[in-house]
Amino acid sequence: MPFIPHTSQDVSSMLASIGVAEIDALFDEIPAHLKSGSLTALGAGLNEMQVARLMRDRAAQDTPLLNFIGAGAYEHHIPAAVWELATRGEFYSAYTPYQAEASQGTLQVLYEYQTMMASLTGMDVSNASLYDGASGLAEAMLMAVRAHKTSRRILVPATVSPFYRSTARSIVKLQDIELVEIPYDRATGTVDMAALAQHAGTDFAALVIPQPNFFGALEDVDALTNWAHANGGLAIALVNPLSLALLKPAGLWGDNPHPNPLPGGEGTNAALRAPVGADIAVGDGQPLGAPLSSGGSYFGFMCCKQALVRQMPGRIIGRTVDLDGKQGFTLTLQAREQHIRRAKATSNICSNQGLMVTAATIFMSLLGQDGLRRVAAASHQNSQRLAALASGIAGVSVLFNTPTFHETVLQLPKPVAEVLANMANAGILGGYDLSADYPELGNALLVCATETKTEEDLQQFVASLQAAIA
C-alpha cells in the first residue's frame, strides 16, 4: 500500500486494542447512506516507475523557447546550491515554526531573510513573506486603510501591472475599498503628475508607487512619495527586489515627512516616526531564486516603517533569549494574527511561502551585495542593448523616452499577436503583448532581457523580430 506501512498483523493487533472487529467499524458514526462508493474515475495507482514515465512524457510536451517575456516574472540564473539546500528534508518537510525550540533552523533563516529584505528596501522591518506580489499589494492596501483610519480610497497608477490591479481588486473590493486609477503620461510611460495633482485635497488612504513600473520605466519616486505625504496619504512602494541592488531603496524616497502621526503601536513615539520614505514596500520575490514554473510558487514580501509594524499581516520572527540567556528566535507579535485574534486579526493569512523564502535567503547569501548588483546591472545592460538593436529595425521604435531597469516597450508596425506567433514558430518568446491591457498604445510589445541572455541570443531575437514583421 503506497505510503502506509501497516502489516496485516499490525492491523489486527491495533483493532484488538481499540476493541473493534474491522476498520470500517471506526466509521460507524457516519450515516451509512453518505458513504462514498468506489472512486473508479481515478483509476489504479501508479508505482514510482510508472508515474515517472507519465510525468516525463508530460514535461516533454512543454516546449521551452528562448524567453524574452518579463511582465512580472523574470528568468535569472539560480545557483545550484539554492534548491539543493532548500529541498533538504529538514527544511522541506517542517511545519510553521510554532515550537520554537525545535525550529531554530527555519526561524533563523526567516530572521536573516527579514534583515536582507529590510535592508534591500531600506525599510525598518519585514514580515516573513506573503503568498505573492499581487496578493501582497492587496494586503498593503488593507494595511494602509487600517493605518489611515478615515479613508477607504487607494490611488493606483495605470502603470501598475494589470495582473496586480486585477488581483488587488478581487481581494479588497469586498471591504468597500475603492481603487482609483491614475493615468500615465503617453510620452514618458510614467505617472501623469498633472492628472495626479487633481486628486490633491481629496480623501485617500494611500498612493501606490511602482518602481520600475509595468512598462519597465523608472518613476519619479521622490516626487510621488512627497505628493502622497503632502496630501495626507501613505506611500506604498511596489518594487522589484533585484532592481534594488541598483535603485534607491523605498525607505529613502522623497524628503517630505508624513504630516499626520500614524496611529497604532509605537506611532505615538515621534522618535520612531520616519522622516522620509515610503511607508510600506511590497513586491514579488520571484527574481530572488524562484524558477518561472508557469507562475508559481513565488512569494510576496512586505516591509514597512517601525510605526506600522503592528498593522502588518503575516508571520514575523523576532530575536530573543532563552532561560539561560542564550540567543534564540521565535514567532512574535502573534496578537495580530488569526489564530489569536480570530475575527479581529489583521488578515486571515495563516501561512507564509517559507520554502520559497528559504531559497531566496540562500540565493541572496550566495550572490551577496556585489553579485546581486552584477545580476541587476547585466540585466539592465542587456535590455538596453536589446532595445537599441530592435529600434534599428525599420518600423520598430522604443515607445517611451524614459530610463528603464530591465524591460522596455517597443512599438511595432504590425499587430503584436501576429508578430509573436511568427517569432514563436522560430523558437522565441518575443515578449508580452500590451494591446489588450493598453489598447491606446497600438502595437506595443513589452520585452525583457535579463543577465541570462548572451549577445547571440539578442541577435537571434532581432533577426526573428525582423523576419516576423517583414
Binding site: 518537510s93 511545519y95 539561560d324 552584477r374 547585466a378 514563436a424
Partner: protein, 493 residues
C-alpha cells in the same frame, strides 16, 4: 551565528554572478548610494551555514510529527523530483498555452481528481493556501447572493470550535461573524444554530470532522437548517484526510469547499508554505470560480494541439469565459509547483490508495487514543470515535502535578518527538490535539506512547524536570514576552 557574522568585506563568490560589472545608464537621483546588508561569503560558507541551520529543525523526514489539524504525513520524494523536471521549471507564466500542454494536462487532471473525491461539480486550483481558499469560498457565496439581488445577507455563522482563519476570512469578505456553541459531545448545538439563522444568514463555515476530532453526526440537519434559511454551506477541508475516500463533502450537502493539498495530498509544508487551497463548488456556484480554471477543449484544426481525430488542447479560462468569476487571487496561476506534487501523489495512490488514506489515518488515531487512555491521559471525548485526530486534556494531570499541556509538549522534544498541537481548540482546557496520520507505523506509535508514559511518570515523580524541558534542543524555552516588547526583527551591524 548569523550569516552576516560570517561575512568578510570584499570576499566574493565569483562563480554565481556575471564576471563583469555592467555599465548602468540610470540618472544618479534614482540610484542607491549605499550597498544593501547582504553577506560577503564564499559558496562553501553559505552551504555550510544553511546545512547546519537545517539540522536545527524537527521535520517529518527526521521526527514523528503528530501535529493535530496539520496532517504531517510523509511527503513522497518522487513528488518533488518529478515536479522539478527542468521543462516544468523553465516555462514562463505568460508563455502561450501550446508551449505548456504538459503542465496544463496535469492541472486539468488534478481538477478532475479533486471533483471525484470531493463530489463537487467544479474545481479551481488557484488559491495559494487554505486561508486563501476560504477567502475564495466566502467571496463566491457573496457573489452568488449578490447575483440574485439578495443583499440582506450580512452574516456568516461559525462554530466556536472553528479555526481562527474562518472568522478572519468572513471579516475579510465584509461579513459580520456570528459564533455558535458546541455541545458536550463535540457537535454543533442545533438549537443555537436554529436560533441564529435568518434572512441575514449568508452561510455557515463548518469543518467536518471538526477541530475536536469528531464527525459532525447531525450534518444533514445542519444542511437543512442552513439551506432552508437561504444560506450556503461552506466546508473547511482542513480535516479532509479523515474522510478521504469514505465520504464526499458534496454528498453531505456542502455548496463550496476548500481542500488543503499540503495536508491531504502530501505536499510539503516547507517551514510555513507554500501550500495550496483548491476550491470546489456545487453546480450553482460554477460561474463564480476564481480564475484561471483549466479547460480541455477539442483542438482547433488550425491549432497547435496534438493533431488528428479527437485531438484535445488545454487552456486557461479567463474573464471572457467566466464573466461572473470572483476574479484572480494571484498575479499568475497560484502555486503550480505544489499542485504538480499533489497530482503526482494522487496518481500514485489511485482509487484504492485514496480509500485507504482515511481508513489508516483513523485506525492510527483510534489506536493512539486507546493506548494513551490506558496510560492515564484524559481523552476529551471518550464517548466518541476519534476521526483522524483526537484531543487529550492535561487538566487532570495539571491539577494533580502542576504539569501543563505546554510542559508535556516541551518534554516530548527531549524524547525526540515533535509535540501535538497545544491549546487548540480553545474549548478544551490544557489540550493536546494529536494527529498521527496514516503514514506512521505501529512501532512509531508504540514508542510515542512509551514516551508519553515516561512523561506521565516524571510529572508525578520529578515535576520540576518536566517544567524545565526541553534540555536537548539548540535553545531552551524562549522569552516570548521580551520578543514582543523589545522588538528585534532585523540584525544590525
Amino acid at each position: 551565528m548569523l550569516i552576516f557574522e560570517r561575512s568578510h568585506p570584499s570576499r566574493r563568490n565569483a562563480a554565481q554572478a556575471p564576471q563583469a560589472m555592467a555599465a548602468v545608464n540610470i540618472p544618479a537621483a534614482l540610484l542607491r548610494k549605499t550597498a544593501p546588508l547582504l553577506p560577503e561569503a564564499s559558496e562553501m560558507d553559505v552551504v555550510r551555514h544553511y546545512t547546519n541551520l537545517s539540522q536545527k529543525n524537527f521535520s517529518i523526514d527526521t521526527h514523528f510529527y503528530p501535529l493535530g489539524s496539520c496532517t504531517m504525513k510523509y511527503n513522497p520524494r518522487a513528488c518533488n523530483t518529478l515536479a522539478m523536471l527542468p521543462n516544468f521549471l523553465a516555462r514562463h507564466p505568460l508563455a502561450p498555452a501550446h508551449t505548456g500542454q504538459g503542465v496544463l494536462a496535469c492541472l486539468y487532471d488534478l481538477q478532475e481528481i479533486l471533483k471525484e473525491v470531493t463530489g463537487m461539480a467544479g474545481v479551481s486550483l488557484m488559491p495559494m493556501a487554505g486561508a486563501q481558499g476560504e477567502f475564495a469560498g466566502i467571496a463566491m457565496i457573496q457573489a452568488y447572493h449578490a447575483s440574485r439581488g439578495d443583499t440582506a445577507r450580512t452574516e456568516i455563522i461559525v462554530p466556536d470550535a472553528a479555526h481562527g482563519t474562518n472568522p478572519a476570512t468572513a471579516v475579510m469578505c465584509g461579513y459580520k461573524v456570528r459564533e455558535i456553541p458546541t455541545n458536550a459531545d463535540g457537535d454543533v448545538d442545533l438549537d443555537a444554530l436554529r436560533a441564529a439563522v435568518g434572512p441575514q444568514t449568508a452561510g455557515l463555515m463548518l469543518t467536518n470532522p471538526s477541530t475536536l476530532g469528531v464527525f459532525e453526526t447531525h450534518i444533514e440537519d445542519i444542511k437543512h437548517i442552513i439551506h432552508d434559511a437561504g444560506g450556503l454551506l461552506y466546508y473547511d477541508g482542513a480535516n479532509l484526510n479523515a474522510i478521504l475516500g469514505k465520504v464526499k463533502p458534496g454528498d453531505m450537502g456542502f455548496d463550496v469547499i476548500h481542500s488543503n493539498l499540503h495536508k491531504t495530498f502530501a505536499t510539503p509544508h516547507g517551514g510555513g508554505g507554500p501550500g495550496a487551497g483548491a476550491v470546489g463548488v456545487a453546480a450553482r456556484l460554477l460561474p463564480f470560480l476564481p480564475l484561471p480554471v483549466v479547460a480541455k477543449l477539442p483542438s482547433p484544426t488550425s491549432g497547435r494541439g496534438v493533431g488528428g481525430e479527437g485531438a484535445v488542447e488545454y487552456r486557461y479560462l479567463t474573464e471572457a469565459d467566466l464573466p461572473l468569476s470572483i476574479g484572480h487571487l494571484s498575479a499568475f496561476t497560484g502555486n503550480i509547483g505544489v499542485l504538480l506534487r499533489a497530482y503526482i501523489y494522487a496518481k500514485m495512490l489511485g482509487a484504492d490508495g485514496m480509500h485507504r488514506v482515511a481508513e489508516f489515518a483513523t485506525l492510527n488515531a483510534n489506536y493512539l487514543m486507546a493506548e494513551l487512555q490506558k496510560v492515564g491521559y484524559r481523552i476529551a471525548f471518550p464517548q466518541r470515535r476519534a476521526s483522524h485526530e483526537f484531543i487529550v486534556s492535561c487538566k487532570p494531570l495539571k491539577d494533580a502535578t502542576g504539569i501543563s499541556a505546554m510542559d508535556v509538549a516541551k518534554r516530548l522534544l527531549d524524547k525526540g518527538y515533535h509535540p501535538p498541537t497545544t491549546y487548540f481548540p480553545m474549548l478544551v482546557p490544557e489540550c493536546l490535539l494529536i494527529e498521527p496520520t496514516e503514514t506512521e507505523s505501529k512501532e512509531t506509535l508504540d514508542a510515542f506512547v512509551a514516551a508519553m508514559k515516561e512523561i506521565w511518570d516524571e510529572a508525578h515523580a520529578t515535576p520540576d524536570l518536566v517544567k524545565g524541558a526541553p534540555y536537548s534542543q539548540p535553545v531552551r524555552r524562549l522569552d516570548d514576552v521580551k520578543a514582543a516588547r523589545e522588538l528585534d526583527l532585523t540584525w544590525k551591524a
